[in-house]
């Protein structure tokens, strides 16, 4: 909740308030160690990816910057990899749309009818998210396999005589991702719906809007910032997800994350892997910036 709130909160007015020098010094003492750590072990390694992506591999197998160029990007965007890009984006998009469609009614219900149990209901939404993504994905393998739980139930009920192939399909990947990232969708939606002034909806009804009319013309537009934030927070992790396409998608399902993993564990062509990594980062960042602008416009409008 707090993660979401601070993500959408307007940035503190920078430098506009003159703090006494002692306070500024104390601020530095508090903030510097953490900032330094993140600069060294987070920002700097990201910068190295960018540098390595312009390099090449010498005959000894080492990364070299002797002839910097875009050759790794040519490799990263070669036709064999295009299906992986398409898959990653397609899975992330479908997951986002599904999560919004499922998450909105639930967030709405919790906000309107959750009463005193709102916090508990939200924690129950978050609990699966915190308990090992790997293990939950594995649980879906047990459920979806040919001789798994779901097929056993279907066959016992006489609905099918042969097991329906569920695992290692687009269906299982989208199911696993939607399951995994739904909490990220529900929380921002809840925050935005809960903040909505219900008098506005009542005003709509008083002006003879139908229930659905009031929802469509009042509730939905006013919760749009939440919808944008939720889409972003679902799309980003879904796009870079490795575990779900690997365990639920089977060998034939390729995504950018899977190709990056293969390059770094089997081959040594780090420039190619870095170029792919940078492209994945670029798509993520573009999505972030695009949605942030929409978000700000929606909030200020």
């Amino acid at each position: 909740m707090d993660v979401v709130r601070s993500a959408s909160a307007p940035a503190r007015a920078e430098g506009s308030v003159r703090a006494p020098w002692a306070e500024r010094l104390a601020g530095a003492a508090f903030v510097l160690p953490g900032v330094a750590w993140l600069a060294i072990f987070f920002l700097f390694p990201l910068a190295i990816i960018v540098v390595v992506s312009f390099g090449s591999v010498d005959p000894a197998g080492h990364v070299t910057l002797a002839q910097p160029g875009l050759q790794s990007y040519a490799q990263a965007t070669r036709p064999e990899y295009l299906p992986a890009f398409a898959n990653s984006i397609r899975y992330a998009l479908i997951t986002t749309v599904l999560s919004l469609a499922i998450g909105y009614p639930v967030a709405y219900w919790i906000s309107r009818y959750g009463g005193e149990r709102k916090t508990l209901l939200l924690i129950l939404v978050m609990l699966p998210f915190w308990t090992s993504y790997l293990i939950r994905t594995y649980a879906w393998m047990i459920i979806l396999r040919d001789n798994g739980v779901l097929n056993s139930v279907l066959m016992a009920a006489g609905l099918t005589s042969d097991p329906i192939p569920l695992l290692n399909t687009d269906f299982s990947v989208v199911l696993g991702m939607t399951y995994g990232f739904l909490p990220f969708t529900i929380l921002p939606l809840y925050v935005s719906i809960d903040r909505l002034d219900r008098h506005l909806v009542e005003a709509g009804r008083d002006l003879y809007a139908s229930g659905s009319g009031a929802f469509l013309h009042v509730t939905l537009p006013l919760t749009m910032p939440g919808i944008v934030a939720a889409s972003l927070l679902t799309f980003i992790p879904a796009l870079g997800d490795y575990v779900t396409p690997d365990l639920l998608g089977g060998a034939q399902t390729t995504t950018i994350a899977k190709i990056i993993q293969v390059i770094f564990t089997s081959g040594r062509d780090w420039p190619d892997g870095s170029a792919l990594g940078f492209l994945l980062m670029a798509i993520t960042m573009a999505g972030t910036l695009l949605a942030l602008r929409t978000l700000r416009r929606e909030v200020l409008a």
Partner: protein, 269 residues
């Protein structure tokens, strides 16, 4: 004024909760399954649990995971608490940029963080994975969660509390030590619990930074899953789910998921 929810909406919400917990329930139930191949339910047994403690590889992986988690929790709690406090209580140039820096690791794909640290250690220090390397990676992605949790609590704290202590003659450090720190302690503990849950669970970032002899429990589980599905994996998974749920429950009781308002005078609602 809220009225009654439509029946289908309530039903839909109930279904969602069932959907969220179904896989976890299946996992737990099947950890008590007699069947070695774990496809169909054959009968109840507790055998898989004691067997875990005879598996040396698994115990070794557990030991590595716990060592990494302890280092990650201590490191990220210290750095994250300072960051959260600094952001909530002090005004300084670059506060906005610092907030962005804290949020960035939370939206960076895990695989990117994994490979960037792999290249960083290999290219600059010729290091190819170790327990220490994993611990550094874990501190890096845990800091943000601790900082956000502590910041929320500290921002809800009335600054007059510290001022009152100063007025009564406390030094700046004394006021911090005896007023601020006890008030934010629950958030610090909650942040530490979250860091523990994150570190204990991580697969992707860890896999790129693990070396010979630093196999963690998630890596062990992952390779076991690749070989085949057995109730032994369900049994470890059940234990992990129990441990992490417990950590989360404690974090919740300590207020990790709300920004408690701490006031000089309790105001009546």
């Amino acid at each position: 004024m809220t009225g009654r929810p439509s029946r289908w909406l309530t039903g839909f919400t109930a279904l969602l909760y069932a959907f969220l917990f179904a896989p976890i329930v299946v996992l737990i139930v099947f950890s008590f399954n007699t069947s070695r191949r774990n496809f169909v339910w054959l009968g109840f047994t507790l055998d898989w649990y004691p067997k875990l403690f005879e598996n040396q590889q698994l115990l070794g992986a557990l030991a590595v995971t716990l060592q990494v988690a302890v280092i990650a929790v201590v490191g990220s709690t210290i750095l994250g608490t300072l960051l959260g406090l600094g952001l909530a209580r002090l005004r300084f140039r670059g506060a906005g940029a610092t907030e962005t820096l804290i949020l960035l690791p939370m939206v960076t794909p895990e695989i990117i963080m994994g490979i960037s640290l792999l290249i960083f250690f290999a290219q600059l220090f010729s290091l190819n994975g170790s327990l220490g390397q994993i611990a550094i990676a874990h501190i890096t992605f845990c800091i943000s969660y601790v900082a956000v949790t502590v910041r929320a609590r500290a921002a809800g704290m009335d600054p007059r509390l510290e001022e009152a202590a100063r007025d009564l003659g406390a030094s700046a450090f004394g006021a911090f030590r005896h007023v601020t720190l006890p008030l934010i302690a629950p958030a610090v503990a909650a942040g530490a619990m979250l860091a523990f849950a994150l570190s204990f669970d991580d697969l992707v970032v860890t896999a790129f930074n693990a070396g010979v002899g630093s196999t963690t429990l998630p890596i062990y589980i992952y390779s076991s899953i690749k070989f085949g599905v057995t109730p032994a994996i369900n049994a470890i998974s059940t234990i992990i789910v129990a441990v992490v749920s417990l950590a989360l429950f404690v974090a919740w009781r300590l207020g990790a998921f709300r920004s408690a308002k701490v006031r000089l005078v309790e105001e009546d609602a």
